[in-house]
Symmetry: C2
Subunit: 227 residues, 2 copies
Amino acid sequence: MSKHLVRYTKMQSFTEENYLKIIYHLSQNNEGSVQTNAIAEKMQTRAASVTDMLRKLSEKELILYKKYQGAHLTPAGRQTAINVIRKHRLWEVFLVEKLNFKWDEVHDIAEELEHINSQELVERLDEFLAFPKNDPHGDPIPDKNGNFDFVPFIKLSKLKKDDRGLIMGVSEHSSAFLKHLEKLGLTLGKSLTISTINQFDGSVEITVEEKKISVTREIAKHILIRI
Amino acid sequence: MSKHLVRYTKMQSFTEENYLKIIYHLSQNNEGSVQTNAIAEKMQTRAASVTDMLRKLSEKELILYKKYQGAHLTPAGRQTAINVIRKHRLWEVFLVEKLNFKWDEVHDIAEELEHINSQELVERLDEFLAFPKNDPHGDPIPDKNGNFDFVPFIKLSKLKKDDRGLIMGVSEHSSAFLKHLEKLGLTLGKSLTISTINQFDGSVEITVEEKKISVTREIAKHILIRI
DNA sequence: TTAATTTTTTAGATTTGTCTAAACATTTAG
DNA sequence: CTAAATGTTTAGACAAATCTAAAAAATTAA
């Protein structure tokens, strides 16, 4: 009778998608080609495994790869990566807005959901969520054509004394980090002013809703501000 | 120092979950042990592959298996299977109720979503959907303890002339079948009466909302009725 | 500019889930 | 009750993604 099991004639496997996504993120941070070791660290695997996968992705023309020269995404590879990121961020919005998860609880679940394979599903989810522009951590959600609504952020650690700004995002998604911010009252949309910059250790004292809060340099580096 | 038995729920792979789910369904249809060939057909694979997997599932104590004797689920195996089925059916409700998919469009997407791994996600989804009792095809959704709200159905093909009943479900989820039913106006909740049973080919003529419809025996076998 | 260090690649194995071909076991029919 | 048909398992292989160990290339430092 009917075929109940979906035959995975999928373009990319979960693993391939994860490699492309990581190569995309790494090439955002530092322009240029992405190194084998950097990928290995993010993928929690060995450099040898990365080399094998780079060769495979290169054969599929999703990346440009020359031995010892690192990797670059091709347009097709970038397209795939952005689509995975789009799905990840839309699912995060769903989890927070509809299922009442906290912003520090959604990353791992979205890591799984981002690989669900249905263009129709993504577009309907986007519509159901009223076409959100940002995910719960402030990251922009690309539209269905892969275009980002780019807003320039500045790291809190780069601000000067008396600068004012709005918290627009974070560049670190671990539960521990996000819970810490929550405890300090440093959530998206909050307005802050730099009171003091400690020259000794780079920590900053900021004022948020009339309260003074001290933040280490390491944390300040991961808080994104729009002035 | 006390010896702590860490009881970690060993993650099953997608494939293992699909085998368990299929063994569960097959053992519902015909009581007793499930045959290798039957599993092979549903899994769209070869009997040899099934044998390998049965041995593996048996080692993990998810099934009872003796060579040439077929397979039975253990309580642990049944638990896993029912959990996958619960997720599948909840996601189907989500797709139809929230994302406006049609009942014939959701099966394949739910086949992927059912493997997403988060107990918290399932429970919150259940709550978000207001604890539905049945999926869009009428199948009962087990609660979080694995208990079904059992309602006895009769196949339309088993009804006698002049019997009346309500369409409560279908036992075939292919898009082609469901689209066909939709075209005939045979959707969940509709009331029908048997007008004629054709002795030659087993087809039945039924009356639904004052209209006479003829249905082949093959189709009638997959329509579930509550008298 | 050699030498030491770091990074990357190769070679060979392993695991998972699959396959074909052939052997073996069970069931059914004459 | 044997023989044929059906159903199941074994044996051996393969592709994907990973691993370790070791070789090779590139980079950095003395």
